[in-house]
């Protein structure tokens, strides 16, 4: 009976994800744990709520001791897309609130990102993104800690398992990647399992992040990701990260 009770929510989730796996093409894809070379479309806003099972203590060290409440933490991100990466340059501005503890919003920073599609009209869309992170920090994040990332992301299609599936491939370099303090590179790949479900793997030099992303048919504007960062515990930093992102794209008026 216990087994059945555990399976029931899983079955319900599979049903909620929809029957898109029977379609000729499956196209929902994402990569958890690393940046992408893409930005939010112009006019789209988003709110992202993230939670980690282990709190970041700084310098790539994560909490190991204490109660559940003392070990975990979360963050909020509010962002906006501007411009158009498809035909020119798209921009994304994000305000990050780094903790859900204490006074909400008492610590945070801004992230600015620009991206463009390199091969307009090409068969495989390829995007190049430049991210400036940890800008204008306040509270605990006030100390100068700016970083830069250059990220390349491509979205090829591949015939896998009898279906044409969308892939997401990302490679990037950043000034503070390795342990969150030193320059480094990162790679990642995502695979569409259905029109609403994807899996991914990413590598950041020391950590491997295994993730999954999904959306529910009833909530097309909300996306969820769940990932295990440092999945092989090489840095004694294995942790579970959950994220829910709500997007809304009528910021500039026009009631569509």
């Amino acid at each position: 009976m216990k087994g059945r009770s555990l399976l029931a929510p899983a079955a319900a989730l599979v049903a909620a994800l929809g029957s898109a796996a029977t379609a000729e093409q499956v196209n929902y894809v994402t990569i958890a744990g690393i940046r992408s070379g893409t930005v939010a479309p112009g006019g789209m806003g988003f709110v992202a709520l993230s939670w980690s099972s282990r709190r970041d203590l700084g310098g790539g060290v994560y909490a190991t001791d204490g109660s559940f409440r003392l070990k975990t933490d979360g963050s909020l991100a509010f962002g906006l897309g501007l411009g158009d990466a498809e035909t020119g340059i798209g921009f994304q501005v994000t305000a990050n609130v780094t903790s859900l503890y204490g006074d909400l919003g008492d610590s945070g920073y801004l992230t600015l990102k620009a991206a463009t599609r390199l091969n307009r009209g090409g068969a495989v869309p390829v995007y190049l993104g430049l991210t400036a992170d940890h800008l204008a920090g306040w509270g605990q994040a006030k100390a100068p800690d700016e970083s830069l990332d250059l990220t390349l992301t491509a979205f090829p299609l591949a015939q896998i398992g009898g279906k044409e599936r969308r892939l997401m491939l990302t490679a990037g370099v950043g000034s503070k990647i390795d342990g969150g303090t030193d320059p480094g590179g990162y790679l990642g790949a995502g695979l569409a399992l259905s029109d609403n479900w994807a899996v991914s793997a990413a590598w950041t030099g020391e950590e491997v992040t295994l993730g999954t992303g999904f959306r529910l048919k009833a909530l097309p504007n909300v996306q969820f990701t769940a990932s295990v960062e440092d999945a092989f515990d090489r840095r004694d930093a294995r942790r579970v990260t959950l994220q829910a992102t709500w997007t809304f794209d009528n910021l500039f008026g026009g009631r569509f």
Partner: protein
């Protein structure tokens, strides 16, 4: 709007669930946000449409895209945005067509139609309604759409119908000298079908 409301409610529930466990904790804000933030993925239609490798397949795909564009623009509740929706969508179809000399006349005709529709919108632009990105059935317009003044909708629509009909005729004429005649006719038919949409405004 209902779906957006459900999304907000879902986030609120997650926030409350997290907040119940976290908000009462000690002040110990971290220096870094959790994760790297959300990842945005362009619609599949962009790469799918550009996957055509032959001129024939590309022409057929372009015709299909124009039809999809019409269906997308038809879903807009506010008709003031429909003409610019067609301008943006048809322009995007042209941009995604490969630079194949065989397809050049069709690509040029679609680009020209997009520009002309854009000029009609600009000449009749609303001073009260704001531009915005349209979204329907999980798809977004390629750019923010500009609304036409409601009082000038009839005038603008008549002009847009003229552009659409002219473009259809140009494509048909091009088909007579093109190696991709069938593809050009299909694109022409798809383009011309937009007159029905415009007449319904």
């Amino acid at each position: 709007m209902r779906r957006a409301g459900m999304g907000a409610a879902a986030l609120a529930v997650v926030a409350m669930a997290l907040g119940a466990g976290l908000a009462a904790g000690p002040a110990r804000a971290g220096k870094d946000a959790v994760g790297v933030g959300p990842v945005f993925v362009p619609p599949l239609v962009l790469q799918d449409q550009t996957a055509a490798t032959s001129a024939a397949a590309a022409a057929a795909r372009a015709a299909e895209e124009v039809t999809l564009a019409r269906d997308f623009c038809r879903r807009l509740a506010q008709k003031e945005y429909v003409i610019d929706c067609l301008a943006a969508e048809i322009g995007a179809v042209a941009d995604r067509m490969p630079d194949d000399p065989t397809l050049a006349p069709a690509k040029a005709a679609l680009s020209d139609a997009s520009r002309k529709l854009g000029r009609i919108v600009e000449a009749n632009r609303s001073t009260t309604l704001k531009p915005g990105v349209a979204r329907a059935s999980g798809r977004s317009s390629p750019r923010a759409l500009r609304p036409v003044e409601t009082a000038r909708l009839d005038v603008a629509t008549d002009a847009a119908i003229g552009v659409i009909e002219e473009t259809g005729t140009i494509l048909l004429r091009s088909s007579e000298t093109s190696d991709e005649a069938a593809g050009f006719v299909a694109i022409s038919t798809a383009v011309t079908s937009n007159t029905l949409l415009l007449r319904s405004i």
